[in-house]
């Protein structure tokens, strides 16, 4: 034992202890201030300072780690450890970064949830509470019973979503099958033409489609929300690719057995491409749930209004005070609109992400 090393260790421990204590005090103070008087301007500084000290503590700890390990250490293991320590620090950095982003992403959801159950008075507090003092669930009931008629909006949206998804699946499967399995004159030209239409922004179609549906007397009907979007070239393309991967031998074998085309399609092709079909179904349903522009233009009446249009145009005024928004009530309605989407996401994450990464479009 060399004395100098022992004293160095002691100094290290003391400095570290000081650092650690300081960091802990700062962070604790920050947390206390946040809870007691979140409005205080120096709470943020305290937090930052606490974090800086804590990081300094970690750095100091890491670089002096060797000092604690004591004797009998050769150069190579020391270098390896240093390397390892550096890695740990980088990981700490990465995780901190990801956590900060994750909090940013989640915060609006958190805000929406807590606000939805606050009373109007609590929402108006100068310093927002981070947890509701008192839960007001009536906001949720009001979304269904009040002027918003959320039940009706949900019903309309589900009708449009289900019908358009089913019809769209039929059309898509038939077309994809024709392109993938059948031989006919002009197939490649037609397919190329279809793909070409994908390049054109939808707004170019909307103008004439508005005229067309007016001429059909379709304004303010369900048809106007369903028919114009039945065919998605992208989905046909996606499914065709999928169908093409199914070995041709299966088809020929079925032909030999005398199975009809439709039966083969139903018994073999569709089960084998189930994942793609599920992706299409989910994206299509989410599309109806989230669509705003077209429904707002062509079917904006009580009997056909879809949920997104309804929620945007609803009047969430505090009763007797027209123009003063009842934010909690608004947030409750938004929570109700968001929950089905989140549920679908939880159960079908894989399919959604798969569909999305290929499409580049929302819904």
């Amino acid at each position: 034992m060399k004395r100098s090393e022992t004293s160095a260790r002691k100094i290290c421990i003391v400095v570290m202890g000081l650092f650690g204590a300081l960091a802990a005090v700062m962070l604790l103070t920050a947390i206390c201030i946040f809870c007691l008087a979140p409005a205080a301007k120096w709470a943020g500084f305290c937090l930052i300072a606490g974090a800086v000290v804590a990081v300094a503590f970690l750095l100091f700890f890491a670089y002096n780690l060797g000092k604690f390990a004591g004797e009998n250490e050769d150069a190579i293991t020391a270098a390896a450890r240093r390397q390892k320590i550096k890695k740990v620090l980088i990981y700490i950095g990465i995780y901190t970064f990801l956590t900060v982003i994750a909090i940013t992403v989640l915060f609006p959801f958190y805000f929406m949830l807590i606000s939805s159950v606050k009373t109007v008075d609590e929402y108006q507090l100068a310093t927002p509470t981070l947890w509701p003092r008192e839960f007001r669930w009536s906001t949720y009931a009001a979304a269904f019973t009040g002027d918003l008629h959320l039940g009706r909006l949900f019903l309309n949206t589900v009708i449009v979503g289900v019908v358009s998804t089913l019809l769209s699946l039929v059309v898509t499967v038939l077309s994809a099958y024709a392109f993938a399995r059948l031989e006919f004159r002009g197939k490649n030209v037609l397919f190329a033409l279809l793909l070409a239409t994908m390049m054109i922004p939808g707004e170019l179609f909307t103008v004439t489609n508005y005229i067309t549906v007016s001429a059909f007397h379709w304004l303010h009907t369900f048809a106007v929300l369903i028919v114009p979007f039945l065919v998605s070239v992208f989905y046909i393309y996606l499914l065709r690719q999928n169908f093409m991967q199914i070995p041709n031998e299966l088809y020929l074998a079925a032909k030999v057995d005398g199975t009809s085309d439709l039966k083969y399609l139903w018994k073999v092709m569709i089960p084998l491409s189930a994942p793609t079909l599920i992706s299409i179904t989910i994206l299509k349903m989410m599309g109806s749930w989230n669509s705003y522009m077209w429904p707002q233009l062509v079917a904006n009446d009580t009997l056909h209004r879809l949920v997104t249009v309804g929620i945007r145009q609803a009047d969430f005024s505090i009763s007797g005070q027209p123009g003063m928004t009842d934010f909690p009530a608004q947030m409750a309605a938004i929570v109700l609109v968001t929950i089905p989407l989140l549920l679908v996401f939880i159960f079908f994450r894989k399919y959604i992400m798969r569909g999305v990464s290929r499409s580049g479009i929302k819904g």
Binding site: S214, A215, H217, H220, N300, T302, Q321, P322, G323, M324
Partner: protein, 501 residues
């Protein structure tokens, strides 16, 4: 690839050049700001609207079904249904299908679509600008033939009972209407064609805190100058208040145009010629309003964060306001608040401030009804009979007014023949009976009503002058005021022209 991009750039450059060239041409169009405003309300009506009476007149034997689009809520619909039953007794062959379509805009949208498919209803609730819009496709029936002096004014229908019923609007019936409201029906184009009859009306009145005025020995202002003096005095008494509130910026602008006899809009002519509101007189009153706004004398609905200034009027805490101009249809919101079971103060109602109190002006609002052309003249006649029946039916007008808060378009002396309505008017007071009080006040100022002409773009002009006032009030101080006002006027006119071209 390079060639393609080159081609695109070339093409877009060409397009832009052409576009700019055309712009130059258009802006040299006729500009006529100096013309005086012709008063369409005084234009004599044409004797014919072009209706051709079928042989034998109205056929009371042939069943005919007509449709009526409105926005009435449940209670009003019951009243309407009751009247439709009575009407059915008069004309058993006419079946009326009345349907509710959301709000006024919904009715407008629905009918616009239906006109394009020649599928429109027979009768509808309307505002002037809707009718102007429908008339782009020549869809609205001109009532002239059936008005006093018209081609078929003296035609009659013999009812089943043998009674003779006037098909046309008799002179006696016409006299029942308050003139300003009746004249709204022909504020289109050259003013000679009558397209609407007034159905339910509202206007603006000034509510004031009677107790406060009496306690402080204040006189209720009748002119704008008096109003600003009163505001100054009120601020001395209560420095934290905003003495005066005016709900609708658009109405404020349009009413001041009328009161100052300055140009606002004109229903025909070039796009530039239609929007005449950028003139010296108007700039002067906007300047005066801005100064008074900066003095803290008043606020408006939008500047009040979109809430009616009645909230300030009925507020128990500062900032309060002691005078407030609002729609009579919203009269119940001006009801003073209850404190321990008693009304906090008593409200009074006065005419809105005027430029010339001898010739008062107040805006006319609220729905009218119009009739659409139809291939079947029997349907048009049936629709006309119903419209005439409903608009001149005192009992219905009284019921409608009591339940909706709107005022009838019928003069007071006729309305008072209805017991229920008279009872309602007798209950007028500054607390519970405030709606009746405002109705009474409105019926009394029957010569004050005016409307601005309706044409495609008139509703845009209305929105834009409202925004113009808000933009002018953005000025933080007198120095930047002139610049803001200049910009606000230019922007508003530009946006109007942009809208209709």
């Amino acid at each position: 690839m390079k060639n393609k991009i080159g081609a695109i750039i070339l093409a877009s450059t060409m397009l832009c050049t052409v576009a700019v060239g055309f712009t130059g041409c258009i802006q040299e169009g006729e500009i006529n700001n100096g013309s005086t405003v012709d008063d369409l309300a005084n234009v004599p009506l044409a004797t014919s609207g072009g209706f051709v009476m079928p042989e034998g007149g109205f056929d009371i034997t042939k069943p005919v079904e007509i449709t009526f689009y409105h926005t009435m809520g449940k209670v009003l619909q019951e009243k309407l249904d009751y009247q439709l039953e009575l009407f059915k007794e008069l004309f058993p062959n006419i079946t009326v299908k009345a349907s509710k379509y959301g709000n006024y805009d919904d009715v407008h949208t629905q009918i616009s679509t239906e006109i394009s498919a020649s599928n429109q209803p027979n009768i509808a609730y309307c505002y002037g600008d809707h009718v102007a819009d429908y008339n782009v496709s020549n869809a609205v029936f001109a009532m002239n033939d059936f008005l006093p002096g018209g081609t078929y004014a003296n035609e009659t229908v013999t009812l089943e009972s043998g009674k003779v019923y006037n098909l046309g609007l008799t002179e006696a019936e016409q006299k029942m209407f308050i003139e300003g409201f009746y004249n709204e029906g022909h504020m289109f184009d050259d003013g000679k064609m009558m397209y609407m009859l007034p159905f339910a009306k509202s206007t603006e009145v000034m509510f004031y805190n009677k107790d406060f005025f009496e306690d402080n020995n204040l006189k209720v202002p009748t002119t704008w100058d008096e109003l600003w003096d009163t505001c100054e005095r009120i601020l001395e008494i209560d420095p934290e208040c905003i003495p005066f509130g005016y709900d609708s910026e658009s109405n404020l602008f349009i009413t001041l145009c009328e009161q100052n006899d300055s140009a606002y809009t004109y229903p025909t002519g070039t796009a530039v010629n239609r929007f005449r509101f950028d003139n010296e007189k108007n700039r002067a009153f906007v300047q005066s309003l801005t100064k008074n706004f900066l003095n803290g004398y008043f606020t408006t609905q939008e500047l009040n964060n979109g809430t009616y200034t009645s909230n300030l009027f009925t507020s128990l805490v500062e900032p309060k306001c002691y005078m407030c101009v609002g729609s009579t249809a919203g009269g119940q919101y001006q009801k003073p608040p209850l404190v321990n079971g008693e009304y906090a103060f008593e409200a009074g109602i006065a005419q809105i401030p005027q430029v010339d109190p001898a010739h008062p002006k107040a805006i006319s609002q609220g729905p009218s009804v119009c009739i659409f052309k139809d291939k079947d003249p029997q349907k048009v006649l049936a629709s006309w009979l119903l419209v005439k029946y409903l608009t001149t039916n005192i009992e219905f007008q009284a019921d409608f007014s009591i339940d909706s808060g709107y005022m009838p378009p019928i003069k007071m002396e006729y309305m008072e023949t209805c017991e229920a309505y008279k009872a309602q008017l007798d209950e007028a007071n500054g607390t519970t009976g405030i709606a009746a009080l405002s109705a009474k006040m409105c019926l009394e100022q029957k010569d004050a009503y005016f409307t601005s002409p309706a044409f495609v773009g008139s509703s845009k002009a209305r929105t834009e002058v409202g925004l113009l006032i808000q933009a002018a009030f953005d000025a933080q101080n007198l120095e930047e005021m002139d610049e803001k006002i200049d910009q606000a006027f230019k922007d508003a006119v530009n946006r109007c022209i942009d809208f209709i071209t």
